[in-house]
């Protein structure tokens, strides 16, 4: 049996766990660990420029690959800087293991240098956390952390490591467990068969069905099952912001995103439906609009791995707790059985009628039928940038985004045909997420096109990572929509505050992004004319080994539409342009 120090155990456990990258930043409390990494660890470490970026990069890696992202930070400010990224991962159920240094055991509670109560601070935003109290427990705790982070409803797990427990002199037996079992944690393995039968007969009896699928389908690797089920039944599918890509956007049955900035046809199909199959979605307030007016005629089947997500805001008629992939498989089997007994289900003429209604909505206001934005202005429209991006990358890129108007335009106009391609902070809405998340995805898939859609506001929240990209040669493409405002804030101020732009204007304070990018050793391209856009973007993506920052100047006054009318609106109540509403 091999004897290892705490630091060495961590380094070895990363290898044994199959970790591909550690995103981190050293400091006093983790120096023993960093020394062990230096001496022996085969897992590459990516030195970010700010701990928030470490968590977002690990998060982007996790979203793109499905494997837990790994973060290593020091105590005190290292730990607190990681908090925003941990909260981001928690809100979107992303598997992540965060190793945070802590002051020496005997100093805990004494306000020691760089001491902070990491377990306390992170408690509401983690799936679970551990404080190590004995070096010999480290392998088992790490195994448990990876198991908890990646099973059930995934989420971030924090391991707090007092410095003395990682010192190089105290060595203990190292034995990395192959499996762990927790008596208090057993995620559901299958859905309840009785409930699945009920769901099947409800779906087969539906006249105006809609499948409303969320991030759980992506995280639960159930895209294939969803596609088969939807196609077999010829049911329309809409996605939440988090679900995009699970069902192919280019398929006729896809209605686009739903919710606050959802498609007209998607929101209307939801509102008028008689049966909703909600899969791995959580009836978020950005989806439902006013809960009491939500889809008045609909019976709801709700499949989710997390019982707490079911009937939280909208009551489910048929709740099914279980992993979405296995539940959908079982559901499909029952549906096939029922259809063998009665091949007239679901009623084809009702469905035909339903589809012609949906097509009418789509023709009237669908975003993909023809441009719904005003092309009479001299500006490049932000929507055109995303359409061009989609065209140039053939809809196959990994696209991360920051938060704001550009995020909604990306969600509306980039047609994701595959899951895990769309990386965005949906739940927490974290500006600064985009660039580090793109780094994580690019490291995981070095041959793929990776774009970060951002704005001049968001990008400045983690722009220091241009330096990390230089050090490790991470040639992502930054598609920055420059409008000189905090666009989404401005939009709300236009719509609700009579155009009083309180602190949403940058005036003449913005840097020359091309020069800034060049200062980091990358390539910058500025685009101000629509006629240059496509060529410039092609050039950017042709530069396979360069990080390219595209500084694209767009219409400063554009708004995102459709937009739910709130408060007191229902799913179908929307602004369709600055002047037109339902």
């Amino acid at each position: 049996m091999e004897l290892l120090s705490g630091g060495e155990m961590i380094a070895r456990a990363m290898e044994d766990e199959g970790v591909e990258f550690i995103f981190g930043y050293p400091g006093g409390a983790v120096l023993h660990i960093y020394d062990a990494l230096f001496k022996s660890c085969k897992v590459p470490h990516i030195l970010v420029r700010h701990e928030q970026a470490a968590t977002h990069a690990a998060d982007g890696y996790a979203r793109a690959t499905g494997k837990p992202g790994v973060v290593l930070v020091t105590s005190g400010p290292g730990a607190t800087n990681a908090i925003t990224g941990i909260a981001t991962a928690y809100m979107d159920s992303i598997p992540m293991v965060v190793l945070s240094g802590q002051v020496m055991s005997h100093l805990i509670g004494e306000d020691a240098f760089q001491e902070t109560d990491m377990l306390g601070i992170s408690r509401p935003i983690v799936k679970h956390s551990f404080q190590v109290s004995r070096t010999e427990d480290i392998p088992e705790i790490i195994k448990k952390a990876f198991y908890i982070a990646s099973s059930g409803r995934p989420g971030p797990v924090v391991i707090d490591l007092p410095k003395d427990l990682t010192n190089p002199h105290d060595k203990y037996e190292y034995n990395y467990p192959k499996k762990v079992k927790l008596r208090s944690y057993t995620p559901a393995a299958r859905g309840h068969s009785g409930q699945i039968k009920k769901a099947a007969s409800l779906l087969l009896g539906a006249k105006r069905p809609v499948i409303y699928a969320g991030g759980g389908v992506v995280q639960g690797n159930a895209s294939e099952q969803l596609r088969v089920l939807a196609r077999e039944l010829n049911f329309p599918v809409t996605h939440t912001l988090m679900g995009l890509g699970a069902y192919p956007a280019s398929d006729r049955q896809f209605l686009g995103m739903l919710g606050m900035h959802g498609f007209y046809e998607a929101n209307n199909a939801m509102h008028h439906s008689d049966v909703i199959l909600a899969v791995g979605a959580r009836f978020d307030d950005r989806v439902t609009n006013t809960c009491s007016k939500f889809c008045p005629g609909a019976k709801i089947v709700h499949i989710d791995i997390d019982p707490a997500a079911i009937s939280k805001t909208i009551a489910a008629d048929v709740p099914i707790v279980g992993p979405v992939d296995s539940v959908l498989t079982d559901l499909l089997a029952v549906i096939r059985e029922m259809r063998q007994a009665d091949s007239s289900l679901p009623d084809a003429s009702s469905l035909k009628h339903w589809w012609s209604q949906i097509d009418e909505w789509r023709d009237a206001h669908g975003l993909w039928v023809k441009p719904r934005y005003d092309i009479s202005t001299p500006y490049i429209k932000p929507q055109q940038v995303i359409e061009t991006l989609c065209k140039v990358t053939h809809g196959k890129a990994y696209v991360s985004s920051d938060v704001g108007q550009h995020q909604m335009f990306a969600a509306q106009y980039y047609k994701f045909d595959e899951p895990r391609r769309w990386l965005n902070s949906g739940g927490l809405g974290t500006m600064g997420f985009g660039l580090p998340a793109a780094m994580g995805a690019k490291l995981a898939f070095p041959d793929a096109d990776v774009a970060c859609v951002t704005g001049e506001g968001s990008i400045q929240m983690n722009i220091q990572e241009l330096s990390t990209c230089a050090q490790y040669n991470i040639p992502v493409k930054i598609i920055s929509l420059y409008n000189g405002y905090l666009g989404m804030v401005k939009q709300w101020q236009d719509m609700q505050y009579e155009g009083r732009y309180s602190e949403s204007v940058y005036e003449n304070s913005l840097p020359d992004f091309v020069k800034l990018t060049e200062a980091y050793g990358h390539v910058g391209i500025k685009v101000t004319q629509l006629s240059d856009l496509e060529e410039a973007m092609k050039e950017a993506f042709a530069r396979k080994n360069d990080l390219v920052f595209m500084d694209i100047h767009v219409d400063p006054h554009e708004h995102v539409y459709p937009m739910h009318i709130a408060p007191n609106g229902s799913m179908r109540d929307m602004w369709l342009s600055k002047t037109e509403r339902t």
């Binding site: 377990l119 306390g120 408690r123 509401p124 799936k127 679970h128 956390s129 404080q131 109290s133 908890i148 927790l182 008596r183 208090s184 944690y185 997390d306 019982p307 707490a308 009937s311 939280k312």
Partner: protein
């Protein structure tokens, strides 16, 4: 409606703070709370009372179940159960009042557990409303200090909350 939620959880550092934190984080109230290890020292039993409609209680139990440290839980108010709380009351007891308070204590099947020249310390156990009634009977004027343990409870009959 008032509910008594009884939780079997890992006796680990931080477990209690996760439970208590959940309540403040999600805007639920804790009326009473008590916690102690069970016959198995690796497990703790936590009992709390909270007020809420069925929807809220369902959310509370689901979120509690989601905590990794929580092994099992039961809403005791859903079935027949025994509820007990222990209370220690220090009262001013002088002159004629001494006999009156003694009588009152006997009626409530309490015990005087400490005696001073002008004070009694009384122990009363029972359901929470019985303790409320005792305090009312003794009267606010006489009461110097009240310490209540918070509610503990157990299901009637064969039903047990264990591993």
């Amino acid at each position: 409606m008032r509910h008594i939620i009884s939780v079997l959880m890992e006796n680990e550092p931080g477990a209690l703070s996760r439970v208590v934190g959940l309540f403040s984080q999600r805007g639920y109230n804790i009326e009473t709370l008590n916690v102690a290890p069970t016959e198995d020292p690796t497990l703790s039993r936590l009992t709390l009372t909270t007020i809420g409609d069925d929807h809220k209680i369902e959310q509370i139990t689901k979120h509690l179940n989601r905590l990794i440290d929580v092994v099992k839980l039961v809403d005791l108010s859903e079935g027949s159960h025994i509820e007990r709380e222990l209370m220690l009351v220090k009262v001013r007891a002088t002159g004629a009042q001494r006999a009156e308070i003694k009588r009152c204590t006997d009626i409530f099947r309490g015990q005087i557990v400490d005696v001073g020249p002008s004070v009694y310390t009384i122990q009363v156990t029972g359901a929470a409303d019985k303790l409320d009634s005792f305090l009312e009977a003794v009267g606010e004027a006489a009461i110097m200090e009240v310490v209540r343990s918070g509610v503990s409870g157990i299901a009637r009959g064969e039903k047990v909350l264990s591993l």
